[in-house]
């Protein structure tokens, strides 16, 4: 089955993953070849591709109307539950628990909610790697062990991995680096006593 490349742009047609040409007139499941780039494809499509999201348009403000804080020409339809600013229909965004928020409040809220973060520093991975890997070249542990211990203590309270939030790596790093530090301390004491 050859999937034809759309002659006219169809915004609802999914694009070929290789050449990005919209693939119109295909079913929900099957195999085919893109008519534009001849790439063999297997696909499964879902109802979301038929769904055009309703476009919310703002209403022009008239004399005496309250206006949007961000768009002075638009009529305000709500007050932001976060900061109290008036917002138009375009700026009115759904927040948690049915609240209505303006775009800056939504953006600020995302940074506070741990589940919404996009990137974290993996202190546990760094600490455990610094504690274990240098054991292969043990003289380096004189420097890396204290650094690993410091990272483990510093990173203990920081946001953790969303998928591996446990403390195992931290505990391993703390235990191993503590033992190494104690070992070096013992070596130092032994050298000092010999003198």
């Amino acid at each position: 089955m050859v999937v034809p490349a759309s002659a006219a742009f169809d915004p609802l047609a999914p694009p070929c993953p290789k050449c990005k040409v919209p693939l119109a007139g295909i079913g929900d499941k099957g195999e085919g070849v893109c008519g534009a780039c001849a790439t063999a494809l297997e696909f499964v499509l879902f109802p979301a591709r038929h769904r055009a999201k309703p476009v919310v348009k703002a209403v022009r403000s008239l004399d005496g109307d309250a206006t949007c804080f961000f768009h002075a020409q638009n009529q305000a339809v709500a007050a932001c539950d976060g900061c109290g600013r008036y917002v138009c229909a375009v700026c009115e965004l759904p927040g948690e628990d049915g609240r209505k928020l303006c775009p800056p409040c939504v953006s600020a809220g995302r940074k506070k909610v741990v589940g919404k973060i996009d990137e974290i520093v993996a202190y546990d991975v760094m600490a455990s790697t610094l504690a274990l890997l240098p054991l292969l070249a043990w003289p380096v542990t004189l420097i890396t062990a204290p650094v690993a211990l410091g990272l483990a203590i510093y990173g203990w309270k920081k946001p953790r991995s969303l998928v591996r939030p446990g403390s195992t790596r931290f505990i391993v790093a703390i235990v191993v680096s503590s033992l190494v530090i104690c070992g070096w301390a013992g070596v130092g004491i032994a050298i000092w006593l010999e003198k």
Binding site: P14, P15, C16, P17, K18, K20, T39, A40, L41, E42, F43, V44, L45, F46, P47, A48, R49, R51, K53, P54, V55, V56, K57, A58, V59, R60, L62, D63, A89, G115, I117, D118, E119, I120, V121, A122, V125, M126, T129, S161, L162, V163, P165
Partner: protein, 181 residues
């Protein structure tokens, strides 16, 4: 203290190059793509209600690796049969390395590219590198996505009533109009 319930279940993992690791995790309403290295973890969410489709297209890497592995194996085995004993030992070692290449091509090399399409983004899940893995993933996600989008369709029927149309500025408003005389 009660343990926190696990939010994410692991779907697919694949080790990238030089300390990087890519994995996919499933939550109740989205799939989380995790790109991890030694220092950071970054996340991309694909909401089940937004997924328009999955595309699987073939990759030649597995075929090339298998072909090269088979070719080298045949070459070294063939040579080992005709040369002397001393050289045959060396050739057997190379034949063993060819088997490794062959096994890589058969079981580990990339045989497909897996793409996820939403309304605003097209993403390739590079961790899904084998066809069997891709089919298993689709089989697992398809019912969840259809269920999520069925629920979403109901809520859109309500949301569609909220959409408004631009109204013209009423006559007698602040805008001056010129009148032809």
């Amino acid at each position: 203290m009660a343990r926190k319930p696990k939010i994410y279940q692991k779907l697919v993992g694949r080790r990238g190059g030089a300390g990087t690791y890519f994995s996919l995790w499933l939550a109740s309403d989205h799939v989380l793509q995790v790109d991890a290295n030694m220092m950071t973890e970054s996340y991309q969410r694909v909401w089940l209600r937004d997924v328009q489709g999955f595309f699987v297209r073939p990759s030649r890497e597995a075929r090339w690796a298998t072909g090269i592995g088979l070719g080298l194996l045949a070459l070294f085995v063939g040579l080992a049969l005709v040369v002397g004993e001393a050289a045959a030992v060396v050739l057997r070692v190379f034949a063993g390395l060819s088997v490794i290449v062959l096994l890589y091509g058969l079981f580990f090399a990339r045989s497909c590219h897996f793409h996820v399409v939403t309304a605003v983004r097209r993403t390739e899940w590079i961790n899904v590198s084998r066809r069997r893995k891709a089919y298993k993933l689709i089989a697992r996600l398809e019912p969840l996505i259809r269920e999520a989008q069925r629920a979403e369709a109901d809520s859109f029927a309500t949301a569609a009533q909220r959409s408004t149309v631009d109204q013209p500025i009423a006559s007698g408003g602040t805008q001056e109009t010129s009148v032809a005389t």
